[in-house]
């Protein structure tokens, strides 16, 4: 038996077990085993499996937001940033298809406390702001039409990427990369043949 050195260690172990077994099938014992400690020691650090899920998911969501904020401040052209943002969102949804709470949707989740719901709302607002910055930079650079409504555009893009409609299984039946390339094309050049900008790189698959 070893010792738990930090809360981060617990969160990492829980993330691993949830990812492998799914939240419903994961037992606290499995997480204790992953850490090489007794169940009792684990309860000293966290109160419940639900609390662990909360810590895991918030960390993952925060990572997604921080990553996008970094991308936004980078030097790449707006289209490239948009491409990466769409792909990252698809990969995220694909990886956390079963366990992720619905941060991106602001849906009511009875597992959350009010404070947690507020934290999620703030993170989601930051996330949407980061997307919006990409669009605004694109407008400033003359790449994106100044006539667009940035707020609605962000919500439209996010909606496509989150693909709740990917239910039923097996989901869209296409890889995250394929869906992302198609959606970048739709958003950037439009579906209409020969419309808008020439889109050499990512035509429809």
């Amino acid at each position: 038996m070893t010792k738990i050195r930090s809360r981060q260690q617990v969160v990492d172990a829980a993330a691993k077990v949830f990812a492998e077994k799914g939240y419903d099938n994961a037992r606290i014992e499995d997480i204790a085993k992953e850490l090489g400690v007794l169940q009792g020691s684990l309860y000293y650090h966290v109160s419940s499996k639900a609390a662990l899920l909360r810590l895991v998911t918030r960390q993952q969501f925060t990572e997604v937001v921080v990553k996008l904020e970094k991308l936004v401040t980078g030097q790449e052209p707006p289209r490239e940033k948009l491409k990466k943002a769409i792909l990252a969102q698809h990969r995220y949804v694909d990886r956390h298809r079963t366990a992720s709470p619905r941060w991106f949707t602001e849906a009511h989740d009875p597992r959350r406390t009010e404070i947690e719901a507020e934290e999620d709302t703030r993170l989601l607002a930051r996330y949407r702001e980061a997307w919006k910055s990409i669009l605004k930079d694109g407008i400033a650079a003359g790449d994106i039409s100044p006539g667009i409504d940035p707020t609605i555009t962000v919500l439209t893009l996010l909606g496509m990427c989150i693909s709740p409609a990917a239910w039923p299984p097996p989901g869209p039946g296409r890889s995250p990369a394929t869906m992302a390339a198609l959606q970048l094309h739709i958003a950037w050049s439009g579906l209409a043949a020969g419309s808008a900008a020439d889109d050499a790189e990512a035509g429809p698959a």
Binding site: T156, P164, A165, P168, G190, A192, D199
Partner: protein
């Protein structure tokens, strides 16, 4: 006290109550009261609040699909069909804002769901998806969308776009649902990029 004459009557009443109160706050008594029957008579027709809710979700999916299929079969141009499909979905969402986020969610999260119900929900979602794909296919056939475009992937993207509106749209927001629909149609049809010369 009156009598329940058909399942549809039950579904309509439940849909109305869920819409007004939200699923979590609705009690089976509320639905019985709306129908003017005793709770017991209600349980004779449907096993639980969750099962009733699933019937309501299916009812909305059927409505969305029949609206879409009428658009598909109409004589409108493909771009116009796409506009009407987006508008149709969004208007239906706006009318049922509390309930709409459940329509395309995974129904198997509900613990007492039967395989038959899962299969029915799946079938309805796929049929709706096929309707959207048909609009895209027609546009491809007529050269309005580039040949080789993956119509089903486009359909999934567009349904997702419309579905997500149910999570963020507010009736007291600064845009009406028709304006949102018009902006979304413009976005997916023409894109956001500045057109290049030549």
């Amino acid at each position: 006290m009156t009598k329940i004459r058909s399942k549809q009557q039950l579904v309509d009443a439940a849909a109305k109550v869920f819409e007004e109160k939200g699923y979590a706050a609705t009690r089976i008594e509320d639905i019985a009261a709306a129908l003017g029957v005793m709770q017991g008579s209600l349980y004779y027709h449907v096993g639980s609040k969750a099962a009733l809710h699933r019937l309501v979700v299916q009812h909305h999916l059927r409505q969305l699909t029949s609206g879409l299929e009428a658009i598909v079969e109409s004589r409108a141009e493909p771009a116009e069909k796409l506009r009407l499909a987006i508008l149709g979905h969004l208007v239906h969402v706006e009318q049922h804002l509390l309930e709409a986020p459940d329509w395309f969610s995974n129904p198997t999260r509900s613990t007492d769901i039967t395989d038959e119900e899962t299969a029915e929900h799946r079938e309805l979602v796929l049929r709706y998806r096929a309707g959207w794909a048909a609009v895209v296919e027609e546009a491809i056939t007529r050269g309005e969308i580039v040949a080789g475009t993956d119509a089903t992937a486009v359909a999934i993207s567009l349904i997702s776009m419309c579905d997500y509106v149910s999570y963020w749209f507010r009736r007291d927001g600064d845009k009406r649902i028709e304006e949102v629909a018009a902006l979304q149609h413009e976005l997916v049809w023409s894109g956001i990029a500045v057109p290049r010369a030549g």
